[in-house]
């Protein structure tokens, strides 16, 4: 009985130390020294409205925008995840087949065989903020046709928003979609 009581006392104490004090201390310090990151790297427009997070991907359905990867949740940032199709799952092939058909319709300039794999597959989180540079270049003919902006100019825009490998060798080069599409908007308004 005495050992049970001792175990309970120690467990409760450790629960407070590891569960409460530790989390609260980190929260307090992080909020003071880096509040912007601690709040989720949120982005605001000129009027102070929150337009998203610099880390979280968004859904772009307007064909005039560079479009994001497929997401079964539609980029719901309160329900991350994907449908988890195994490589042999028949529904995966069916879904990709549908996506390719949609692609052909929206992008007659680019043959379906030249679509980079990341664009028409789901990311793990369903919130991927990036596409590959190739996936951005493949969309340029469509956006040029719809917006009247020259392909060379769009190409330069994509290059400007391409982030290289971290420290030159880690990860993959990616295009961050949100600022790219914001810049595209700004260019269209000119």
């Amino acid at each position: 009985m005495r050992t049970i009581y001792a175990s309970l006392r120690l467990s409760l104490l450790l629960m407070l130390v590891c569960g409460l004090f530790y989390n609260m201390a980190v929260t307090g310090i992080a909020q003071v020294i880096m509040p912007e990151r601690a709040d989720g790297s949120l982005l605001q427009d000129g009027e102070g409205t929150i337009i998203g997070s610099s880390l979280i991907g968004q859904l772009f359905t307007d064909p005039g925008y560079f479009q994001s990867r497929i997401s079964s949740t539609g980029y719901a940032a309160d329900a991350s995840g994907s449908t988890n199709y195994a490589p042999t799952h028949p529904d995966l092939a069916a879904r990709v087949d549908r996506s390719l058909a949609d692609w052909r319709q929206a992008n007659p300039e680019v043959p379906a065989g030249q679509v980079p794999g990341d664009l028409l597959t789901q990311s793990a989180s369903g919130l991927d903020p990036h596409i590959s540079p190739e996936a951005a270049y493949a969309q340029i003919p469509r956006i040029s046709r719809l917006s009247g902006i020259a392909q060379d100019e769009l190409r330069a825009l994509v290059e400007r928003h391409t982030e290289g490998r971290v420290l030159g060798f880690l990860g993959e080069p990616v295009v961050w979609l949100l600022p790219l599409n914001l810049d595209l908007d700004a260019r269209k308004e000119q």
């Binding site: 120690l10 998203g52 195994a86 990709v96 390719l100 590959s132």
Partner: protein, 559 residues
């Protein structure tokens, strides 16, 4: 491009190599019962904890040690269960989430106290901030502290020292290792972009004129102990694939290094504490080479892409991107996957269900072996087990009584080892068969992959890994209860048996080393050790692996 793939492998492993020796030295110091300089540093905090929590003084027998371990873990399990059940009535619940159902609360509490972190809920919609902190983070500290304590007790026994006291070891694991390191790492993760706030989710007006509700929370402090303690449970449903939980290549690198650091340092600490430093290094190198083998196989499999999508006309030059994040790409995802399954962490930056069949096979084998470093403490206890098996097999071959660290291995130890070896196959194969036979409706994939889904879930539970193949409708009474029980047995039975084996060896007289002794600090021993792991560990599962991932691979690539 190949050079970047090599960098993806080389950089984390070189960092681990750089850090592992000081870490091993530190672990040996931290758990030394003789006075050390660390007492001055951590003494005040520990004395405060002892004053409030009760002061344990004496050395325990292995039975007392085991009873204390199980008792404390049971109490912690019940505390967490209560928090999960009652979270609807407790504060810090901005989203107004209700309490968990009994079977899910049981499963979740067991999952975290056993260091498995299998999750049948989604963080965003399943747990309040209070539950994430007071229950999940608390257990993420307690579980690795428990298994680290048990491993240290085993090592002491093998070093012919008194076993020690569980309460002291538990507190030291927290005050000297996990809490200070996690505290610093949490701030590093926030600096890399992980949120750390108690504010509720925020709604954004997106660019393409829609709205997006962005879940956040105290994620940085959560991720630090999740990785450092080889826990692996996600704050969010998508775990370390979520951009908040793993914002970029740097955080990904840090997470890989953290998953390996303590598990890789323990064999070196063991060598130091037993006075067989070379023997510890041989084990470390043997496991390191096994891990490289697994990483290589996984990388090759994922780079090959998916021939079924290629046939439809979708480019596969990036490798298989379904279920992967662009910021990691195939290389960083494959290395992460191999490390998370080998170290029994279970964090995922890739959806494992979407791995190529061979990729899934490698992940499955890493978990089933449970000796390629393995989780903190419990993995190393398995390594000791296989080291003894290796010595025993060599002894059989030359017809001599096998000795391990100068102690004779006899009938009693081998009986206990045989029982321990049978646990994993029993815990994986029997319930998998049951699931496939009676609960096939919860398995989402048809064909060979469906079998792999069930086997993966129980392998993950039995090895206390916690990564999910998902794709299972697993939040049901059957899956919650079955995997809950498997996790408990998979955790505590080996710990208790290993304590018994170590204690049984510790009372024996030291046999002087002669020219006939099979030495455990040579390359030859390393080879026998790896052979023992592969023959005993992997062959058991070969039939089921042939029916699952191997058959799936053949069917995918034959067209």
């Amino acid at each position: 491009m190949l050079i970047y793939t090599y960098a993806a492998i080389a950089v984390p492993f070189l960092l681990v190599l750089l850090l592992v020796r000081p870490a091993g030295w530190y672990l040996a110091k931290a758990f030394d019962y003789n006075p050390t300089g660390l007492d001055r540093l951590f003494g005040p905090l520990e004395r405060l904890i002892y004053r409030i929590g009760g002061h344990p003084r004496h050395n325990q027998t292995w039975r007392d040690y085991a009873v204390s371990l199980v008792l404390v873990n049971t109490v912690m399990l019940m505390l967490a269960y209560l928090v999960f059940r009652l979270q609807g009535q407790l504060p810090l619940n901005a989203a107004g989430l209700p309490g968990m159902r009994p079977d899910l609360a049981f499963h979740t509490a067991v999952s975290f106290i056993t260091g498995s972190n299998l999750q049948h809920y989604s963080g965003e919609s399943g747990l309040s901030y209070l539950s994430q902190m007071m229950a999940v983070v608390f257990l993420m500290f307690a579980a690795p502290a428990t298994s680290l304590a048990a491993a240290m007790a085993c090592i002491r026994a093998l070093a012919d020292k008194p076993l020690g006291n569980f309460y002291v070891d538990l507190v030291r694991a927290l005050t000297r290792v996990l809490l200070p390191a996690a505290f610093v790492l949490a701030l590093v993760f926030v600096a890399l972009g992980t949120p750390q706030t108690l504010e509720p989710a925020v709604t954004a007006q997106t660019v393409d004129s829609g709205t997006q509700t962005i879940a956040r929370g105290p994620v940085g402090s959560f991720v630090a102990i999740k990785m450092l303690g080889t826990n692996g449970g996600g704050f969010f449903g998508a775990n370390s694939a979520h951009p908040y939980e793993n914002p970029g290549a740097l955080s990904n690198l840090l997470q890989i290094v953290l998953m390996l650091l303590i598990p890789a340092a323990i064999p070196l600490a063991y060598g130091r504490m037993t006075g067989h430093a070379r023997h510890g290094r041989v084990l470390f190198i043997a496991m390191g080479l096994l891990l490289l083998l697994l990483v290589g196989a996984l990388l090759a499999a994922e780079h090959a892409g998916n021939p079924a999508l290629q046939a439809l006309g979708l480019q596969q030059e990036q490798g298989s991107m379904e279920g992967k994040e662009n910021r990691f790409g195939v290389a960083q995802s494959a290395v992460y996957t191999a490390v998370t399954t080998a170290s029994e962490t279970g964090a995922v930056n890739t959806m494992h269900d979407t791995l190529s069949p061979i990729g899934g096979l490698v992940a499955l084998i890493s978990m089933l072996l449970n000796t390629v470093f393995g989780g903190i403490g419990s993995g190393f206890m398995n390594v000791l087990l296989y080291a003894i098996v290796a010595v025993f097999l060599s002894g059989l071959m030359v017809g001599r009584t096998p000795e391990f660290l100068g102690k004779k291995i006899e009938v009693r130890e081998m009986k206990l080892i045989a029982v321990t070896l049978l646990i994993t196959p029993l815990l994986v194969l029997v319930p998998s068969a049951w699931a496939v036979a009676a609960h096939a409706d919860t398995i989402s994939s048809p064909g060979f992959h469906g079998l792999t889904q069930a086997v993966y879930e129980f392998a993950s539970a039995a090895a206390n890994n916690g990564s999910g193949f998902e794709g299972l409708a697993d939040n049901t009474r059957f899956w919650n209860t079955a995997t809950g029980v498997v996790m408990m047995l998979g955790r505590y039975v080996p710990i208790l048996l290993l304590l018994a084996i170590a204690a049984s060896l510790s009372v024996k007289r030291l046999v002087p080393q002669t020219s006939g002794t099979f030495r455990t600090d040579t390359g030859l021993f390393g080879v026998v050790f790896v052979a023992a792991v592969l023959i005993v560990g992997a062959l058991t599962f070969f039939p089921v692996l042939a029916l699952g991932p191997i058959a799936e691979h053949l069917s995918l690539w034959q067209r």
